[in-house]
Point group: C2
Chain length 563, copies 2
C-alpha cells in the first residue's frame, strides 16, 4: 500500500479561518480546525460613526492560521492512523476579496506599526466595507467612458467593495496611510507572502482572481493606465505608477515554499509548496466540482453563482449583468464567470425576524407550513430585491415587492413566496448565461442554506427545471484550496485531475417535478413582467394581467392539488 | 319655554338595532338603546356548506325594535326631566340594503309561515349574502348590452349583494319560495310597513334609495322592462310583471302613521308620522351633516364615501367608477353619489392578525411605532386592494401589493404604509369626483375607525389636503333617521333645516400639514403609477422610477425630519 499523501486547504472567511487536511488520492477529509479572528465584532472592526466601515486586523489571520492548522493536524492524528503532518505535500489558500491592506517595504502590515496603532484606515479594508461608495461611483462613471473593456471584466459597474475605490477613499481620508504604504495587497496574497517568507511586496505573486474580478486588471490590457488613475486623482496615478504589478498569477501555480518559521509553527516540512491564492467563492466552486456545463451556486446570506467556459471553445459575447468574467479565475483553462443575488438567506432571515419570530413562527415552523402549500396556491409573487439586485440588473437601489395579497394571506405564504422569488432570480441569471451560449446542464448548491432546507431545494429544482446536486463535502472552499495546494505541489498534473480524485457530488440529486415546473413557468413569466417593469428594462410594461393570472393560478392549483 | 319635541331614529344594522331619541330643536341626544338580533351568529343565519350564505330572521327586527325603543325611552326619562314618550313627533328608519325578504299577500314574511320554517331561502337575504354571484355576473353582462342607463345608476356592475341577483338565484334554488311570495321587499320598507300596519305589499312605499342604488330602478326610465327580465329568465319576467312598483318614494316623506298595536308596544302616540326608509350609510351621511361640497366617509371594515350634487346645479357627466348615482337617495333635492373602498379596517386587521398580533404588536403598539415615522421615511408604498377595488376600478379580482421593502423594513413601517395606501385610494375617489365637476371642500369621517385613530386622521388630512371633521354625534345613522322622522312629521320644513338644528361637527377639525402634504403628493403620484399599471388603466406603464423615487424620498425625509 502506497504512503498516503495529503494537501492542506486554508480558507479565510469573514469571521474565521478554517484548515482542512485532505487525502489527495481519495478526497477523504481527515481533519479540520477552525479559529475565529480575535478583534472587533466577530472579527470585524467597526466604527460607531460610520455603518459602512468594516476593517480587519491582519495579525488575526496569522494567529487563526496557526491555531486552525494545529487543530486540524491534531484531529487528523486522532482519526487517521497513517497520517503525519510531514505527509502534507502542498498548501492552498482562499480568502475574501477585495480585502486589501497597506504594507511597508518589508511586506509588514502598517497595522502592525506603532505609528498606526488602532487606526482602522491602516488595517485591512474588509470586502464588505462600503466606505468608498462615492469613489466607486466616480470610478464607474469614468471607466464607462475611458476604460470600458476593463469595466466589462468586472460586470459593468465598479463596487465600493473593491480595491481602487478603497485606495482612492483612503487617499482622501487618510493620506498619511497611503504615503506610508509601499504597496496595497489583497489579503490572500499577503497570507501567501507570510507563509512563504516573502518580504518584498514587489515579488509577491498577485492572484489573477482578485485582480481580475475586483482590481480592474484586464487579461490582455493589464492594469488601468496612469492617465485613467490621474483623472480620478493625480495622487492615485503617482502612487500607483511603480507599485501596481504588471502581471498576475493563477491559483494552482506555486507561489513559494513554506518558510522555516511557519514550518516550525505548523509542524510541516520546510519548503512545502504553497499555491497562489484565489477568492473564497471561486475556490469553493472548484471544491464543489465545477466544470464546463455545471453551475455552482453558493447560497448563504447572499448568493454567488459561478460557471466556467473553456478558453478553447467558441468565444462568448460579453454577458451583460454578470459580476465579472475573468480568464482563469476559477479553473486555469477556462473563463471564470460570476453572478450573484444580493439577498437570499438575509431575505428569509429578515422576514422571520420582523414578521414571524417573536410570534413563535421561526424558520422551522414557517417552512413546515410553507411546505404544505402547492406551487401557485398562495396567489402571491415577490421580487427578491430587498438588498438591491446584483445580477442581471446590477442596481443596488432596487427594493423588494410582494404582489397578490388578500385578507387571507398568511405569513407562511409570504415566506414561501420569498423563497420562490430567489429561485426566479436565479433562473434569470441561468437564462442570461445560456443566452450567451454557455450551457448550464446541472447545478450544485453549496453554502449554509441549501443542505438544511429541502423545501428550498425542491422549489429551486422545479423553478430551474434541472437536477440540483449537493457537494459531498460541506467545506468546499477549504477543499478547493487543498486542491490548488495539491496541484501546486505537482501531486496532481492539473486541477481537473485533482477535482476528479478529491471531489464528489451527493448520491441523490434533487430532481424536478414536471407539474410543479409547469406552474412555475407561468409564475416566472409574471416575475419577468415585474422584473422588467420595476427594473427599468422596459418603460412600457403591461402589468394588467398580473393580479388576475395569480388569482387564476391560485384557484386552479388549489383545486388540482386538493380535490 | 316651549315644550320640547323629539324624533325617534331607528337604525337597523347587520347584527343589532339601535334607537335614538333626539331633541329636534337642539339636536341633543337624550336616550338610546340597542338590541341584538336573536338568531344565528351575531344575528346572521349562515349555512355550513356555503360560505356565501348570510340570512336574517325578519322577526328579529320586530323584537329588537321593541326592546331598543323601550330602552331608549327609559334612558330619556332618566336623563331628561321634560321628556315624555308622547313628545316624540316623528319616526325615521334606516336599514342595511339590499336585504330583501319574501312576503305574502298580507305583507307577512314567508319566514313566519309554518310551511317555510327553518328554510333560509324564505328568510331575508342579508346585504352581505353572496350566494347570487353567478346571477350577478349574468345581470351585469346583459345590462351592459340592454340596459346601460340603469346599470350606470348603480356604478356599471351589478353586485351579488343586490335585489335582482338574489331574486333570480332564489328562483333557481328555491322556486317554491318565489311562487309563494306576493312580493319581495327591502327590509327598511318592511319595517316601515309593520310599524304603520300596512298589510298590502302593493301599498307599501318603496324607498328610492335602495331601489335606485341596488334595485335597477331608474329615476326617469323606471324599473327594468319585462323584456330584460325575460331574457334573464322567463319566470323572472312573469313574476315581476305585476309585482314591481312603478314608483319610489324619498326618505322624509310620510309613509304612514304608527299603528295602534305598535303605538301601544312602544308607548308612543297612535298615528305618529313614520318616514319612508333609506339605506343606513346614506342616512348616516345625513346625520353627519352632508351638504353640497362636503364628502362623508364612513370608515369601518370597508369605506363608504357619499357626496351630493344639487338637482338644480349644472348637470354632471356620469362618473365612471362610482358605486351609484341616484336622484334624492341622500338629500331629497340632490343627486346622491356613492363610492367605496373594499377594505380599510379589514386591511389593518389582517396585517395585525397575521404579522403582528401574536408577537405582541397589536394595533396600539404598531400605531405608536408608526406615529414616530415621518411621511416618506419608510420608503414603502402599497396598494390597498387586498379585498379588490370597489372605486374607481370596480374590479373585485385585484389584490394587494407592497413595494420598496429592504432588509431593514419593519412591521410598523408596513402598517403605516397600509394606512397611507387607503388614504391614497380615498384620494383617487375624491379626485374622480372633482373631475366630474362636483366640489369636495371638506370631509367628515365617520364610522368605527376614525374617531379612535389620530394617526389615521392625520395621514388622511395630509394626503387629501383638506380639513377633516368628525361628527359631534357618534350615532350618525340613527341621528339621520331621526332627522327624516322630524321632517316626515312636519316639525322641520325640510331636511336642510333639520340638519341645521340637529347635527354639528366637532370643534377642532384635523388640519393638514403643508410639508407632509408635499411629500404625500409625491407618493400619491407613485401610487397612481402602480394603480394604473396593476389596475389595467394603462398597458404601457413606466414603473422604472418607483423604487428609486421611494428611496430618494426615504433618504430626504429621514434627513429632513431627524437632522
Amino acid at each position: 500500500m502506497e504512503t498516503p499523501r495529503f494537501a492542506l486547504g486554508l480558507d479565510f472567511g469573514t469571521s474565521s479561518a478554517r484548515a482542512l487536511i485532505v487525502d489527495i488520492d481519495s478526497g477523504e477529509e481527515i481533519g479540520s480546525g477552525t479559529a475565529n479572528f480575535a478583534h472587533g465584532e466577530a472579527g470585524i472592526v467597526v466604527c460607531a460613526h460610520d455603518p459602512h466601515c468594516a476593517r480587519q486586523v491582519p495579525g488575526d489571520w496569522r494567529d487563526a492560521a496557526e491555531n486552525a492548522v494545529r487543530d486540524a493536524v491534531a484531529r487528523g492524528l486522532d482519526t487517521t492512523p497513517g497520517f503525519r503532518s510531514q505527509l502534507i505535500v502542498g498548501i492552498g489558500i482562499d480568502a475574501t476579496a477585495s480585502t486589501p491592506l497597506p504594507v511597508d517595504a518589508r511586506c509588514r502590515p502598517l497595522a502592525d506599526d506603532e505609528r498606526f496603532r488602532n487606526r482602522p484606515d491602516a488595517m485591512a479594508w474588509l470586502w464588505k466595507d462600503h466606505t468608498a461608495h462615492v469613489e466607486a461611483a466616480e470610478i464607474t462613471a469614468l471607466a464607462r467612458r475611458e476604460l470600458p473593456h476593463h469595466l466589462a471584466r468586472c460586470g459593468g459597474a465598479y463596487s465600493s467593495e473593491w480595491l481602487f475605490a478603497k485606495l482612492l477613499c483612503c487617499l482622501r481620508v487618510a493620506p498619511d496611510v497611503v504615503d506610508a504604504a509601499s504597496a496595497w495587497i489583497e489579503s490572500g496574497d499577503w497570507i501567501v507572502a507570510f507563509l512563504c517568507g516573502l518580504d518584498d511586496p514587489r515579488l509577491v505573486p498577485r492572484n489573477a482572481c482578485a485582480a481580475g474580478h475586483k482590481g480592474l486588471f484586464h487579461d490582455e490590457l493589464g492594469p488601468p493606465p496612469r492617465t485613467f488613475l490621474d483623472a480620478l486623482d493625480p495622487r492615485l496615478g503617482a502612487w500607483c505608477e511603480t507599485r501596481v504589478p504588471a502581471r498576475t498569477t493563477l491559483a494552482g501555480e506555486r507561489a513559494g515554499g513554506l518558510c522555516a518559521e511557519w514550518a516550525a509553527k505548523l509542524g510541516l516540512r520546510v519548503g512545502t509548496p504553497v499555491s497562489v491564492a484565489a477568492i473564497d467563492a471561486h475556490v469553493g466552486a472548484v471544491g464543489a466540482g465545477i466544470r464546463p456545463g455545471r453551475l455552482v451556486s453558493i447560497l448563504g446570506t447572499s448568493a454567488c453563482d459561478m460557471i466556467v467556459h473553456p478558453l478553447g471553445a467558441p468565444p462568448i459575447a460579453e454577458i451583460s449583468g454578470l459580476c465579472g468574467m475573468v480568464r482563469g479565475s476559477i479553473l486555469p483553462d477556462c473563463w471564470g464567470l460570476e453572478a450573484g443575488q444580493s439577498a437570499v438567506g438575509d431575505l428569509f432571515g429578515w422576514f422571520v425576524r420582523e414578521f414571524g419570530k417573536s410570534s413563535g413562527l421561526g424558520h422551522a415552523e414557517l417552512t413546515a407550513q410553507a411546505t404544505r402549500l402547492a406551487p401557485g396556491e398562495s396567489g402571491l409573487l415577490a421580487l427578491d430585491w430587498n438588498n438591491g439586485n446584483r445580477s442581471v440588473l446590477a442596481d443596488p437601489l432596487l427594493s423588494g415587492c410582494v404582489v397578490g395579497t388578500t385578507l387571507r394571506t398568511t405569513a407562511a405564504e409570504i415566506y414561501r413566496t420569498l423563497i420562490e422569488a430567489t429561485a426566479f432570480g436565479a433562473r434569470v441569471i441561468v437564462e442570461r448565461i445560456e443566452e450567451s451560449g454557455v450551457a448550464v446542464d446541472d447545478i450544485v448548491l453549496c453554502g449554509g442554506i441549501a443542505p438544511r432546507n429541502p423545501l428550498l431545494r425542491s422549489i429551486y429544482a422545479d423553478v430551474l427545471r434541472r437536477p440540483l446536486h449537493r457537494s459531498r463535502s460541506t467545506e468546499t472552499c477549504a477543499l478547493g484550496a487543498a486542491i490548488f495546494g495539491a496541484v501546486a505541489a505537482g501531486a496532481h498534473p492539473n486541477v481537473a485531475s485533482a477535482q476528479n480524485a478529491m471531489t464528489a457530488l451527493d448520491d441523490r440529486p434533487q430532481l424536478y417535478d414536471g407539474g410543479a415546473a409547469d406552474v412555475y413557468d407561468e409564475l416566472h413569466a409574471l416575475y419577468l413582467r415585474l422584473h422588467d417593469a420595476f427594473g427599468g428594462v422596459t418603460r412600457a410594461a403591461d402589468l394588467s394581467p398580473v393580479m388576475k393570472d395569480l388569482l387564476h393560478l391560485k384557484t386552479r392549483t388549489a383545486v388540482r392539488i386538493k380535490p
